[in-house]
Each structure stands twice: as structure tokens, then as C-alpha cells.
Symmetry: C2
Subunit: 299 residues, 2 copies
Amino acid sequence: MRATPIFAAIEAGGTKWRIAVGTSVKQSSCIEIRTREPDETLDEVLAFIEREVELQGSLAGLGIGSFGPLGIDPSMPDYGVIGRTPKLNWKDVDLKAIARRLDVPYQIDTDVNAAALGELDARAPLQGKLIYVTVGTGIGGGVAERGIISSGIDHPEMGHVPVRRVAGDDYPGCCPFHRDCLEGLASGPAIEARWGADLSALGSDHEGLPLIAHYLGQLVVSLTLVMAPMKIIIGGGVSQAPGLLDQIQQEAHRQLGGYLSRYDELDSLVSLVQGPMLGSNSGLHGAFLLAHQAAQAET
Amino acid sequence: MRATPIFAAIEAGGTKWRIAVGTSVKQSSCIEIRTREPDETLDEVLAFIEREVELQGSLAGLGIGSFGPLGIDPSMPDYGVIGRTPKLNWKDVDLKAIARRLDVPYQIDTDVNAAALGELDARAPLQGKLIYVTVGTGIGGGVAERGIISSGIDHPEMGHVPVRRVAGDDYPGCCPFHRDCLEGLASGPAIEARWGADLSALGSDHEGLPLIAHYLGQLVVSLTLVMAPMKIIIGGGVSQAPGLLDQIQQEAHRQLGGYLSRYDELDSLVSLVQGPMLGSNSGLHGAFLLAHQAAQAET
């Protein structure tokens, strides 16, 4: 009798990793570990997966959604290798090492691309592009379409787009590369530096909410004008501030200025810009889908 | 003996139309007519195509690249129908009427999407997304990838993205919807309103050149961060100002701020951002490719 085929899914973050082994997020054993030094972290990940595989069955595929920058082109030597990250010891770490040790088919992409894939699947059958934007320690985005991740010659870095400053906002911005790009003005660290607390703690009457909504609304407008997506999902820690999503929808509607007839009504923005259907599991679900795709590509 | 299969390609612009009948732009009879009232214009287009078909052979396909906004989804009733345009009499004009009268397979898309397709083909085999940006009376963009046009639920409208103002630039902008979006600040009419002449006439020492390059550089940066294209082609009348392309490449390099390692060197921006290889024929060549694709889809 052949063992049940199971899959391993990894969401690799800058502060924590989540690892699930089973057939789906719901049907899996899952742990969450703190991100430490690379060797230590990878050893713990591998130990968990190997133990679970022994308990559950035969590992058919591995999917990893990781923080970046990250090589995502399977034909390139830097596939699965972490690039210039502020987490210095993680630069040049090759996540392919996990798959090689497990000797299993794998796919590796960014955490937000995996989350886009997960949310697209949760909304099947959705036609058109789905963009997943995370707003947390950083701001990043991923794109999925027709059941697969859709990138260019590299993964998107949409958190760093230039934005137009709101009049009177004199916070200089905290991006080490661009100072006041979107991430520099509206990420979690920018919010903390501006007001000494996170957006949820500030409350729904605080001036911070409309300001951050204005900047994230600009991203929604730019993405809509450039890519015409079917859905833009706003996830990540900052996005959970009560009332923020409503204000982003309103801001995007206002900033579009009646230009695109399909967004004449505010309701159409409410349909375009949504929170994640899978809560905090979008990325891990996407990593399972990557594991499935890896297994299918092998057969 | 069967007549030689020939194709009709139309580039429909707000001020002029170009129509070519033959097997390619080089092997075709081509006319250029001024855009007048819809009925009059379409009659002249049809008369030319019908005459040429009689002379040359049997019409196998029609491709149209048109000004927009335009319905581009073949499954929708507004496919090939011109939307809210300032050219009032052209609103709701159905370009499918041309194909119906000719009784021929057809594909219709925007002028800039067709131009993107044409430039992609001219650079074959190019991997990755190619974005074609036109800077003229308006600013618009199209995307092609893997031999086909790549749109979302609608064609891009990237000319209207919000941009960050250059310090000291107090021109209010001329976009009737957004005032100082990219098109409002950097299109031909904005340049004319700012300095009373077109950018080429102002000369390469005029302050206008770096200012317009700054705004177009912002678009290049945003597109690169959001879509990671392989090429961004800058076409259209304004783009021909001597020295502009160089300054856009330099601005984009500066504004990226060393964030993306693949663009560390200025040369990499020179490779990313280029003028059209086909000169003013990108769109018409793309329309021929659409005609070929229509004929292939039929068989």
C-alpha cells in the first residue's frame, strides 16, 4: 500500500516562519517559529517537516512563499536565493537547500505572490488579475491570474512606488532607499515613527487613518490604471486597523475622479478593494498550491 | 487558383487614421486620412480596403488598433466600441461595423496595446513583458507578452497615474479629470500650455526637458516596481525631442535609488527604456499581427 501523498507549505517571514505539513492548511499540522539565524531556523523547519512526513505519509511537493528580495526564475542560479535584505545574515541564503534535503519537487516565490495565489484560489472562479498587497513592516504586492503567479522578469516591488505627498504631511519618510516612497510614508514603521503607536491603537478618529488611507488609495489608483486588476486585496498588520479599508475604498474612488466608467459608483471600489478572504492564511494556502503545482509539474 | 490571402490593418487615431492592406506594413498599400466625423471616416476606410482587396486578393483578417477608451473584451457587447472620449461624435462608435461590412475575422484593441505587440514582435524572441508608452496629445500605455496583448479586465490607462510634483513646478496641470496626473503635467498639451511650443522646438538646453524627463522617469520607475517589464518603449510625438530619452533613463536610474540590484548600472536602464524599433509603424505592425491572429483563430 502506498502512503498518502502529503505536501509541505512554508511561509517564510522576516520575523516568523509558519510551516504546515498535510494536504491543505485546514488538514495539516502547523507550527510557527521565530526567525533566527538562517542555519538554526532552517534546521528547525526541516526537523518539523521530516517528523511530520514520518507520521503522515509520503511528501509529494514543497511550496515556499518567502520574504524578499528573492530570485523567482527557476531557470536562474539565484532561484530561491534571498537577495539584498536588511536582515544581513539572510542575504544569499538559498531556500532550495530545504527542498534538496527533502529531495522533493518544489516551487519558491515571494510571500505576497503566494498570498495572491491563495486569495485567487479562495475566490475561484475569478477572471482577471488579483493583486495582493501587504501593509506591515514593509509594503509589498504580488499578482496572480488564471491559477498561477504572474510576475515579470522579477517579482513586483510595488511598496516602493513614488507617491504624491498629502499637503501638510511633513514626515520625511523612513525608506532607506527612497525616503518618502509609499513604504517610507505608510508602512508600520512609518506609522510608529509618526505617532508612536500602531494604527489600530490610535483609534478610528485619529488623523492617521485618513492620511494612511490616502497613500494606500494612491497605490490602488495606480495599480488600477496600470494593470486593470479584478481584485486588489489589502492584507498585513496595518490593514487590520478598524475603518482603514473603507477609507481606502473612498479615497481610491475620489482620486480616480470619475475617469474610469466602471468605477463611477463607490460600490464598485468596495468590490475591487477587499480584505483577505483567508485572513492570515492567504500565504500559507498559496504555498500549498505551489507545492501541488510542483508535484504536478513532476508527473 | 485561390487568391493570395491578404490582411487589413488599421491604426485609428484621434487626429488621423492609417490603413494598410497587404501582408505586412512593408508589403502593403497604405493611406493616411484625417479623422473626421465617424460615418465619413469609416466610409473612406472601407472604400480603400475594398478597392485594395479587389486589386490584391482575398481578405483573411482585419486588425484594428484604436484610440480609446475602448471595449477590448471580445465576450462583451462593448467590444470594439469607443467609450467616453472628448471627441464627442466618436463616443459609442462601434468599430466592429468595419469588420462586419467586410465579413472577415477581426481583432480590435487599443492603439498602444497594438504598438506594444508590434514592438514585441520586432524584438523577438524577447522574454517578459514589453510596455509601450506613447507621449503625445495624451499619455497612454499598452502591454504585450508571449506574442499576445496582455490586459486586465480593461486596457491600461497608465497616463493618468498620480505623480509626485517636482519642487518649484507650479503649473496646475491640464487633465480635466485629475488636473495634475502624469498626462496633466507632461503630455503635449501640457508642454504647449507651459512653454508655448513643443518640446523639440524648445531645444535641448531648455528647462522643460529635465522636467518632463523627471515625470516620465517616475512612470518608468512605477512600471518597473509594479510589473518588472523586460522593456519599456517610449514613443509618440513628445518622445522625439532630442535628448529626452537619455534624460528619462538617467532620471529613472536616479529615482530607483539603487533599490533593484538589476538596475545598479545606468546601462541597464538604457537597455530597459528604449525608443520604438519600428519608428511610427509600431501600431500598424501590431494591427497586422492582430489581423493574422484573427485569421488563425478562425481556422
